[in-house]
């Protein structure tokens, strides 16, 4: 049971974003820009950052949703799984390993990010903007994960919900559906 009254048909973050639309708008705008806006990081790479942070924060809803989005974008399910288990041996570029490590450190605490790991990312070809966006994506998912779990939101009753959600995140993005979410009512 969520800690506050949320609509039954909207598990995880969606119920919260519908509960508080005034705060949802900037959160959605920020996410849409960071994960879907113009970037030298692919959408799949940015979803991996969200996945690694959500996994580290043990947020089941966000981890499952962003794993599904990363899988759908990359067309395979190995990379997200391996990145969650061990960044260093995962099948991603050296630059992505450094950026995912920065994301993991940001998750622990902003103060855990060191000049050395930032230099490692730069040596692997990461730009300042990529480093900036990685830290801000990681920080944003520290917000999301705490919001979702701190208010005790429900998990979807049917795991197939995540496939529908991933399809929406890939083909529509993070902005609110123009028609709302009433079609999800059973």
């Amino acid at each position: 049971m969520p800690h506050i009254a949320l609509e039954d048909h909207l598990p995880g973050i969606t119920g919260l974003l519908e509960y508080s639309k005034g705060t949802a708008q900037p959160i959605r705008d920020l996410t849409q820009f960071l994960l879907r806006g113009p970037s030298t990081l692919t959408e799949a790479e940015r979803e991996l950052i969200a996945t690694v942070v959500s996994y580290g924060n043990e947020c089941t809803f966000c981890t499952t949703a962003h794993t599904a989005a990363a899988d759908l974008l990359s067309g395979e399910s190995q990379t997200a799984e391996k990145v969650k288990q061990d960044i260093d041996t995962a099948p991603v570029s050296e630059k992505m390993k450094a950026l995912l490590t920065i994301a993991s450190l940001t998750r622990q605490s902003g103060k855990s990010v060191t000049p050395d790991i930032v230099q490692k990312a730069k040596d692997a070809g990461a730009t300042d903007i990529e480093i900036h966006d990685t830290v801000l994506i990681a920080a944003l998912f520290c917000l999301y994960n705490r919001y979702v779990d701190g208010l005790g939101t429900a998990l979807p009753a049917d795991p197939a919900y995540y496939n529908i959600l991933a399809d929406r995140l890939v083909n529509h993005g993070y902005t609110r559906l123009p028609q709302g979410y009433d079609h999800l009512k059973k």
């Binding site: 920020l30 903007i129 900036h132 520290c142």
Partner: protein, 182 residues
């Protein structure tokens, strides 16, 4: 010195916001709505206090001083009184509702799963509404973002705490959406 070349000398989050205006707008819009919107039964001072407290728990010098000074401005407390609240809010002269919301915020800072049914019940027993509980959780979560953004990119912060106290009245007057260059 920040870990990336910001091409400006602004401190804390302001340097990051000037560097990346594409994300500045949404970040300030969130702060403006969450901390200042008048359609809210928590005062601006109470909301700033939650932000300052979470920033203190995250050991973010810039944010805890900016928002501690703003809380002090609204609540008519000096810097020592704000420090005393951060160190031990249970002993402070605050409503039982605010104490229960600060306890929830402290749990959110550790991780969302740390919020207990008992904390929610305690907050309700002091009269906290769903929206107040929601806002306390989201303010705490938002500062877990802001603090990580500020420290994760190694931004600098003016060491003199009076700097933040001096700026608070202007920020309270103008709000967050003009906060970058002023």
């Amino acid at each position: 010195m920040a870990y990336i070349e910001l091409n400006n000398d602004l401190p804390g989050i302001r340097g990051l916001m000037a560097y990346r205006p594409e994300t500045e707008k949404a970040l300030n819009a969130l702060a403006e709505t969450l901390l200042r919107d008048d359609d809210n039964t928590l005062t601006r001072g109470e909301r700033e206090l939650i932000g300052a407290y979470v920033s203190y728990l995250n050991d973010c010098f810039f944010c805890q001083n900016v928002h501690g000074a703003l809380a002090g401005h609204y609540l008519d407390c000096n810097i020592d009184e704000i420090d005393a609240i951060k160190k031990d809010f249970y002993s402070a002269d605050l409503s039982s509702k605010m104490k229960s919301l600060l306890a929830i915020a402290a749990s959110v800072q550790k991780g969302g799963k740390n919020v207990t049914e008992g904390q929610i019940t305690a907050a309700r027993n002091t009269g906290a509404t769903d929206k107040e509980i929601h806002d306390a959780v989201l303010i705490a979560a938002a500062f877990c973002m802001f603090n990580r953004y500020v420290d994760g990119l190694g931004t600098w912060a003016p060491p003199d705490r009076q700097f933040y106290v001096n700026r608070a009245p202007q920020r309270a007057e103008e709000g967050y959406q003009s906060s970058v260059y002023k």
